[in-house]
């Protein structure tokens, strides 16, 4: 029994403890509405974190995700400029931008042999440059209501949970898709094999470049989706994506993903994202000033890696 408990990823226990603490401290979280709003807030970061997990599992980093979130919000607002009839094609264009950005990242890593941290750092600077140039550094256009539907709208009068934010539905669908691809397909197994040992994977017949392209594309597309949700949540914003890539990496690491590849699950990563958000919520309820969130994020980031390393060493792995 105790042995089996030890095998459970501690992130789930931490998440449960945080929920208990929040529920004790805030009456707002005794109702389902509190949790639904919580999930709504966590949805973009959960989607981003799982996207990031693809790149982490492949053995890399995607630092360009946050800048792509910003570009999505700014680009959509400028392309749309309040015109509701254009929403659908703008969403498609933005997803297309995600595919292009992800492919470019992967090709720079694969063909030019540039370490992914530098390749995506360059992409991050380039994308924020594009966003700034396009917008002139300030919000310009406007997002119509139907674009904001995904990030803002709540389905009311749902039995049991009372409200159901559309963002939560998006999160469940997108994360389920990414879970399936990672854990229930040949592709996912190839990806993890590549992150574990790229040379062995190559010699076992895994097509590295294609595998990497898809990983980076998933990450970029997840950033676009997160951008659509965040744009929907609050409207145009020029620095909505700043630092999100680091939160995503933190979430994946809290979930036990191994940096430089080979180990990491979608479920635990989502739990990692929720832990991060729950931690922020708890600090908010306790009335700590916002900057303390950074301190806590920094400390749990380091602790998560230290604990993971300790667990691994102790299990003799």
């Amino acid at each position: 029994m105790i042995e089996r408990l030890k095998q459970i990823n501690p992130v789930f226990l931490v998440l449960a403890l945080l929920f208990v603490a929040i529920a004790i401290l805030s009456p707002y979280f005794l109702q389902p509405t509190g949790y639904m709003n919580f999930l709504k807030r966590a949805a973009p970061i959960a989607i981003l974190a799982v996207g990031q997990l693809y790149v982490i599992n492949s053995g890399g980093f995607d630092l360009s995700a946050g800048a792509l979130v910003t570009l999505t919000v700014i680009g959509s607002s400028i392309l749309l400029d309040g015109d509701a009839s254009a929403t659908w094609w703008v969403v498609l264009v933005m997803l297309g931008v995600g595919v292009i950005v992800g492919t470019a990242n992967a090709l720079v890593v694969s063909w030019l042999k540039v370490p992914s941290i530098i390749a995506t750092l360059g992409m991050m600077i380039t994308l924020s440059g594009v966003a700034l140039t396009w917008s002139g550094g300030a919000p310009r256009g406007y997002l119509p209501e139907n674009f904001r539907f995904f990030g803002r709208y709540l389905i009311k009068d749902v039995p049991l949970i009372k409200i159901l934010p559309v963002a939560v539905i998006v999160m469940v669908i997108v994360c389920a898709g990414m879970w399936w691809l990672m854990h229930r397909t040949n592709y996912g197994k190839r990806l993890i094999a590549m992150g574990d040992n790229p040379k062995a994977a190559l010699l076992a017949g895994v097509p590295l470049t294609e595998t990497r392209i898809i990983a980076f594309v998933v990450s970029s597309v997840s950033a676009v989706i997160a951008g659509i949700l965040l744009g929907g949540f609050a409207g145009v914003s020029t620095d909505v994506g700043v630092g999100l890539e680091l939160q995503a990496i933190t979430a994946a690491v809290i979930g036990g993903a191994q940096l430089l590849g080979g180990r990491g699950t979608v479920g635990a990563t989502i739990a990692g994202a929720l832990v991060l958000q729950a931690m922020f919520t708890l600090l908010n309820i306790l009335g700590f000033p916002k900057p303390i969130r950074d301190v806590v994020q920094g400390l749990i980031l380091i602790s998560a890696v230290v604990i993971a390393g300790y667990r691994r060493r102790r299990s003799g792995g």
Partner: protein
């Protein structure tokens, strides 16, 4: 015991997670002698020397240096007391000069803390002078501009500059050509003449005969035999292998087992290979012999598309194929089991099953179910594991917890799922214990009997001769000779070393 031993190790036991690497080993060396330390890969030779130098700390046992008990916690401590180890992978910094490497970590400084470059140069020149005029490089040469033998000289010079009385050399000839070997042997003899004590790790009988004064054989972490002189080769081999090697290898293929040519190469060449003409036949094991750098591994990599041919044509079962990537090679029916299992074969953090299934997954629909691919199902894989008698707590444990032999079985199973026509084994038994070796050999034979063309590359010449129906000898990127089953080590070696004499013998 030996009263004049410079150092003496008594009852050394060293345990790694799950493995007893050394079990109560005793070993010693006198001044002015070369003590050969012999054993198969993984027998524990290097571990023993790492205990001596303080890289590892033994759980049990004692070490005496000039009669005084010592316990080195760190290599620095052994270095300063005159024990130098020259490892197989050189511990040199390629971007730094010879002098900087020789004084690595103990650079002389003046009283302002500024490096005394002049002194480093001077002392380096003095040390190099011990080699006579054989070194042909100076203190300011960058190490990356040196060839392997010269790099080894730098390592030895490093030891000499520390005035080492005990010098351990771990398979020093592994990458040397004949002329370079000769030079090394002379250096070793010089060092012995200076009254130093040399521990010479090797598994090559020729070198033992040429250099050694005493021989100790280690097997499975224990001293299998200790000779106070240099005994007959057969005695050493028996102690190493632990049984008569006669029944070690399966019988060769009968003539009706050998089928039509499966793989044909005409005029294959690239930067490391020249004018390769080759036929591999179904049902036959073709072994490749040659010295290090002769082109055997390059040929395997070319056939598997990892370092493709740039000229010539290749066909599989009469169909021309283009082998420009491992994936294309695998699709053409060629499989390779890489030599360095850990670096090139295993996904260490994944389960045994995932390691076995990866090729099947790599060659089926990427969106398909991973346990039920169009190439193989998990059930079939499990059955292959069962058939190979793969020993694991269960097939879901991480493969890094398995022994080398069982890991190798998983990799073989991986490729069998693709039903390859050509199987290339590179160093198939490196780091595998003797009993599992026999299993692997039997497996190779049965793969051939099932109709595959099997290619075997090994730096262990007896192994090549023992398992192959046909032996091709390579030298300088070319195939230079062919022998049938039953060729002798001497004639194969002779062919392999017409230019470069004398390696790969036991």
């Amino acid at each position: 015991m030996t009263g004049d031993a410079i150092f003496e190790m008594k009852g050394i036991t060293k345990v790694f997670p799950g493995i007893k690497a050394l079990d109560s080993v005793s070993f010693s060396a006198r001044a002015g002698e070369v003590h050969a330390l012999v054993g198969e890969n993984g027998a524990g030779k290097s571990t023993l020397m790492k205990v001596l130098s303080g890289v590892y700390q033994a759980e049990e046992g004692e070490i005496f240096l000039r009669g005084r008990k010592v316990r080195f916690q760190h290599p620095l401590e052994s270095l300063t007391q005159g024990v130098s180890v020259i490892y197989q992978e050189f511990s040199l910094l390629p971007d730094r000069t010879v002098a900087e490497n020789i004084f690595l970590g103990r650079e002389p400084t003046n009283r302002f803390g500024i490096l005394d470059a002049a002194r480093m140069r001077r002392e380096t020149r003095n040390v190099l002078a011990l080699f006579g005029d054989r070194h042909r490089f100076g203190p300011d040469t960058l190490v990356s501009d040196l060839d392997v033998a010269q790099q080894q000289m730098v390592e030895i010079a490093k030891a000499l500059s520390l005035n080492a009385q005990v010098i351990v050399m771990d398979e020093p000839t592994a990458a040397l050509n004949d002329a370079e070997c000769d030079l090394l042997f002379q250096l070793v003899e010089d060092l012995r003449g200076q009254g130093r004590s040399i521990v010479y790790i090797t598994h090559r009988m020729r070198e033992i005969r040429r250099l050694a004064d005493r021989v100790t054989v280690i097997k499975d972490g224990k001293v299998a035999a200790a000779f106070d002189d240099v005994p007959e080769t057969g005695q050493i081999v028996e102690a190493m292998v632990g049984r008569d090697i006669g029944h070690f290898y399966p019988d060769p293929a009968t003539s009706d087992e050998v089928g039509a040519p499966v793989l044909t190469v005409h005029g294959g060449g690239n930067a490391r290979l020249f004018d390769i003409d080759l036929e591999l036949c179904a049902g036959q094991i073709t072994g490749f012999a040659g010295v290090q750098g002769a082109g055997r591994t390059a040929l395997a990599l070319a056939l598997f598309g990892a370092e493709p041919f740039e000229t010539g044509t290749v066909s599989v079962e009469g169909q021309p194929v283009s082998l420009t990537s491992p994936r294309k090679a695998a699709k053409a029916g060629i499989a390779m089991l890489p030599g360095d299992r850990k670096a090139e074969g295993l996904m260490l953090m994944q389960s045994v099953r995932d390691n076995g299934m990866i090729s099947a997954r790599a060659f089926s629909n990427p969106l398909g179910a991973p346990n039920n691919t169009s190439v193989a199902t998990l059930d079939q894989m499990d059955k292959l594991f069962d058939a190979f008698d793969l020993r694991a707590a269960n097939y879901e444990v991480e493969i890094q917890s398995l022994s080398g032999g069982n890991q190798q079985k998983a990799i073989v199973a991986r490729w069998l799922s693709l039903a390859p026509k050509v199987l290339i084994f590179v160093e198939p038994t490196r780091g595998i214990d003797v009993n599992t070796k026999a299993v692997i050999y039997a497996q190779m034979r049965s793969l051939a009997q099932d109709g595959a063309a099997v290619m075997a590359i090994s730096s262990d010449l007896p192994e090549v001769l023992g398992i192959s129906d046909r032996v091709l000898v390579m030298s300088d990127g070319k195939i230079v000779a062919e022998f049938g089953y039953g060729a002798s080590e001497t004639e194969v070696m002779h062919a392999a070393t017409e230019a470069h004499l004398g390696l790969e013998t036991s």
